[in-house]
Amino acid sequence: MRRLTENIKIAFRSLFLNKTRSFLTMLGIIIGVGAVVAMLSIGTGAQDSVISSVQDIGSNLIIITPGNPEEGDQVMGPQMMFAGDTAELDEEDVRAIERDAELITEVSPVVFGSAVVSYLNRNTQPQVFGSNEKGMQLYNVELEKGKFYSKGDVSSSANITVIGQTVVKKLFNNIEPVGKIIKINGQNFRVIGTLKSRGTDSFGNDQDNIITIPVTTVQTKLYGSSSYDMILTQSISEESIDEATEEIKDILRRSRDIRIGEKNDFSVRSQTQILDIISTITNIFTVVIAGIASISLLVGGIGIMNIMLVSVTERTREIGIRKAIGATNRDILIQFLVESIVLSITGGIFGILFAVLISVIINNFTVLETSISTFPILIALSFSTVVGLFFGIYPAMRAARLNPIDALRYE
């Protein structure tokens, strides 16, 4: 134990003696460890914020989309939710759910799009969110001023809209927007309310750059289509969410005349299932990062081995002296092994500090959120220890095997 502390002291002394060289050697490990920890912190941060924004959408939400990528083409990622397929969702489906579902409280069809919106000489191009009167409630969006459109407005395809804060800022500079007439794709719409700010989502998208319009108006007057991009529903309770999902599947199979044995041409997903998909994606991300990181740690390790071999040669005489004085082969082996481990652990610690710095910068200067957890730090540290051990063994063995007489004569 005493000799171990002695060895650690020797190791630090020789690291400090060749500061530049030690730093350059550690750079591989610093970059490797720094990259893993930083990327994982970005990954975890993104995962956290995606999850919280999914949870933000509204509780007990069930989302029905056309097409069925899970049982058809293997599409991964966000497209999974909107995979275009020939099958479409329409009014029939909404009616069937409203009529037959017992475990569902609210239903709203949704159409997405974008449109050019103008007021006087100002214009902007926000996202269009077409829904019925329940849409905002399902989506957990709150009103700031005015009111939301009513069931009557939806059935009469009224030219009215509720606008988000970004649109308010861009079109109405200090002017009260509620009651004003704006043009959407050239048609007159009356602003009846404004939405509370929701900030940016986890992908950096501005969630306030949005206008909501009755879905019927969007279909007939803006895009001229009869299908929906998705149907939002809400189960009556958290416990019944899986049952409600199954119920909707049954109802839609019946209403869409899908025979037994045939695949669904639509998808029904609850929030929990979406969260599962997200974690699958982030896990793949993690594995890829780990792969890249292990390559850079490998390269860093080779750097350590290289410099340790140089160090053994340089210190041949020192090894000779130590051996003449009574150091065993094992003493020398341990001395150099400790040195390479100290080198790689120091690199690992610098790498972690580097990653923390990066993640703080990203947190403060970009829309991405990062979160540093202890797990990747521990993994990175133990990994760099193993690298030091593994790549230190060969040089240390060369040092240990030196013949003391030859070593003493070495100039």
Binding site: E318, N329, D331
Partner: protein
């Protein structure tokens, strides 16, 4: 075993170096006994085998044949790791080129043998300070070797050789890199240590140095060609007194 007061007993020792297919005999049959408490010199021209003999006596190397008993231990039958223990416990080396660790201060250099000593030492620091004191370098304890003169470096090396209280001190051309006055000083330290009971073997090619010891072994071509009991042993103290001091010269 009974070592009859002999700390070193060498019988028919041969050492042959093989370089590729060529065999070079360095020692061709040496018989040598050294008593405990002796101060002895080994002399010979270069290539006579004195360095090889020194390395074998110092357990840095093993003989090709023959036997070597050091303090009753048959060194030929000892494994590598135990050889390191013998070097640590029984032998104190003093080299011509000092062989100090340049990055470590004086204290650390003298401490070195104790680091590799397997025993737990309670009075370790005391031992180091005593060894440094016995060569008169207490004031330099935190200095590094490159801040010292050649003679001072050699004194550090002697302190390092002493610190583990070995049975024998081996000095390989200890004055070879020093001026005559400093060399005298070093020999004075050896003579004093010998009076205190230490066994000391000095390898040298200078008769003037060898005459400080009590017995001189002459080596030639890998054999002992003769030995001489020194009648009028030189005293380093007396010589130093007669030498002009640095102050007188200036």
């Amino acid at each position: 075993m009974d070592n009859d007061g002999f700390i070193i007993k060498i019988r028919k020792m041969k050492k042959i170096y093989s370089i590729g297919r060529i065999s070079v005999p360095a020692l061709k049959g040496i018989d040598l006994d050294i008593k405990s408490g002796e101060l002895i010199a080994v002399m010979g021209p270069s290539g006579s085998g004195k360095s090889t003999l020194m390395n074998i006596i110092g357990v840095l190397d093993t003989p090709t044949s023959g036997s070597y008993f050091l303090d009753g231990v048959d060194v030929g039958k000892v494994k590598d790791n135990e050889l390191a223990v013998i070097r640590n416990k029984k032998i104190g080396f003093v080299f011509q080129t000092f062989n100090l660790l340049s990055r470590v201060n004086l204290f650390g250099n003298v401490e070195l043998p104790l680091i590799y000593s397997r025993e737990r030492l309670r009075d370790k620091k005391q031992k180091i300070l005593e060894a440094i004191d016995s060569v008169g370098l207490t004031d330099w304890i935190r200095h590094k070797p490159n801040e010292l003169s050649g003679g001072e470096k050699q004194r550090v090396a002697i302190a390092r050789a002493l610190v583990n209280q070995p049975s024998i001190i081996l000095a390989d051309e200890p004055t070879g890199n020093l001026d005559s006055r400093t060399g005298e000083e070093i020999m004075g330290i050896f003579q004093r240590l010998n009076r205190e009971g230490k066994t000391i073997v000095v390898v040298t090619h200078e008769m003037a140095i060898a005459r400080h010891t009590r017995r001189i072994i002459f080596l030639k071509d890998g054999r002992i060609s003769g030995q001489e009991m020194v009648g009028n042993q030189l005293s380093a103290e007396e010589i130093l007194e007669k030498m002009p001091k640095l102050d007188d010269v200036i």
